[in-house]
Amino acid sequence: MAYGMLAAGLVVGGWEAYRRWFGPWLGAEGNEVGTVLGWKILPRTSANLAMPPVEQMIDELTKPEVRGSSTAVWQAVLEATLMSLWLAFAALVLGAVVGLGVAIAMSRFKIVQRGLMPYLVISQTIPLIALAPLTVTWGGEISFFGFEWQKWTSAVVLGAFLSFFPLAIGATRGFASPTPAALELMESYASSWWSTWRRLRLPSAVPFLLPALRLAGSAAVFGVVVSEISVGYTEGIGYLTLNYLGEGTARPAKVFSAVLGTIALGLLMATAVGALDRFLGRRRPTQELV
């Protein structure tokens, strides 16, 4: 916690120092620092437009969202953040189910592993924004038990699409991690594949699953926030950020209040995964947080 505060302080300090002194100094007439072979590799910041002061961002939070509105910016940001948080959690859960399912199939049948692995890797190279409109179109054709595909469903599916990968890889490694002696022991008890999976492979995979879960958590957040924009889901923090960005010239600090929401979203996800980590690791030999 203390280190977290210190880190936040350093970020704010660095931001302000660059904005106030370093940026303008770079931009001063005849200053060649930051210019290499005619290329400007360090941005100049002479106006508050590019790097608004931190106190302006905080001030922005308390202002009404639009002129005359009764909702303050912080309320809008909080609401959108929570909305995206639920979607990200749903994406993580869906991604975990799919990822573990894939990993089980790959550990059970070597042929599945050989056949599927290249496609898994390729799947992660498809740009999300190419996939997003497709999920909306395909989803429009789907309805079951009175459930109609919504825009948020697309965002969840795309978040899951990103988050299943690290879990599938981590779990596959984890399920293969028991020593030959441990597997021989289970075989000597005439244990079935499923029983060996449940009693040996799954618990041995936990140290592999925890770092994978951290990656999957941030992938779910990223996937949901980005795809909100692509699928046009307007209630999440991703879309809100895009909205506020449109007011860049009038209220340049406003978009950073939305960025604060995204940061909070990432922190909340990391905290949730960390809690799960401590819960699962509580009766294990000293284990490092990865």
């Binding site: 021989e184 000597s188 005439a190 009693r199 030999p285």
Partner: protein, 270 residues
């Protein structure tokens, strides 16, 4: 004793790895051995002599290429399916995520025993290996010797008539090792368990065994079987008795003889 079925019966047993490939290895040839119920038999020999392979054949973790093999009068496979034997390895192989008691209960769980019965048995086994108060500890909180005792308790939890051990004390220091050997003898005589025991250590084999099976490599086979039987009351004095040293010498000479034999054949081959 002769009317009973042997605990292990092997005749002309053979195991060849990688048949038909350039890496083909004759791991075991012509192994004939009967182990009587209640007997303690050690397998000793240099690496590559096939002692661990023989143990894994008995355990049905490997299939023989040729020959006869019966465990408790059944096929090795049936004996494994019936959990007729327990196994212990050099690494205790306890599951880190299970408490000590839960580790001992593992084979019982797989046999489908209910919880109360499992609890009672794991308590009994903990008493047997004299770690009665450590049931709720986690394995990594125990010393190496204690972990190995838990592994033995786990191997014997279902009261199998046969115990297969692959260098179980190989990773322990000398003092702990001697203590564990005495413990093993006590446990086996209390439970009337037959033991097939793989080891590298001559004194260990001599101290523990009724018979020591001396094996040699290239191809793996039995070269000599030495009767030891130092009596039912073995203790620290046994380790200092003349008879003990005589038997050690006998086993050592048998091992050396088999090595010289292998070397001689090597020369002839060239």
């Amino acid at each position: 004793m002769s009317e009973q079925q042997p605990a292990v019966h092997a005749a002309d047993l053979e195991k060849v790895f990688n048949i038909g490939r350039p890496t083909q290895v004759e791991a075991l040839v012509g192994v004939t051995l009967d182990v009587q119920p209640g007997e303690f038999v050690s397998l000793i020999g240099p690496s590559g002599c096939g002692k661990s392979t023989l143990l894994r054949l008995i355990a049905d973790l490997l299939e023989p290429t040729a020959g006869e093999l019966a465990v408790n009068g059944k096929s090795a496979r049936q004996a494994r399916l019936d959990q007729d034997y327990g196994m212990a390895f050099q690494q205790s192989g306890l599951f880190d995520w299970r408490s000590v008691a839960k580790n001992i209960e593992l084979p019982l769980e797989l046999k489908g025993w209910d919880k109360a019965k499992r609890r009672a048995r794991s308590k009994e086994m903990l008493e047997l290996v004299r770690l009665g108060d450590r049931g709720s500890s986690m394995p990594w909180q125990l010393s190496g010797g204690q972990q190995q005792r838990i592994a033995i308790a786990r191997a014997l939890a279902a009261h199998p008539p046969l115990l297969l051990m692959d260098e179980p004390f190989g990773a322990l220091d000398e003092m702990t090792r001697e203590h564990m050997q005495s413990e093993l003898l006590r446990i086996c005589s209390e439970t009337h368990t037959t033991v097939v025991f793989v080891t590298h250590s001559i004194p260990e084999a001599v101290y523990l065994s009724d018979r020591v099976v001396v094996m040699s490599p290239g191809p793996g086979r039995i070269t000599q079987i030495i009767d030891v039987r130092l009596g039912d009351q073995r203790d620290d004095d046994t380790r200092e008795a003349t008879e003990f040293y005589q038997k050690i010498t006998e086993v050592r000479e048998a091992l050396r003889g088999s090595e010289l034999g292998a070397a001689a054949r090597g020369i002839e081959d060239r």
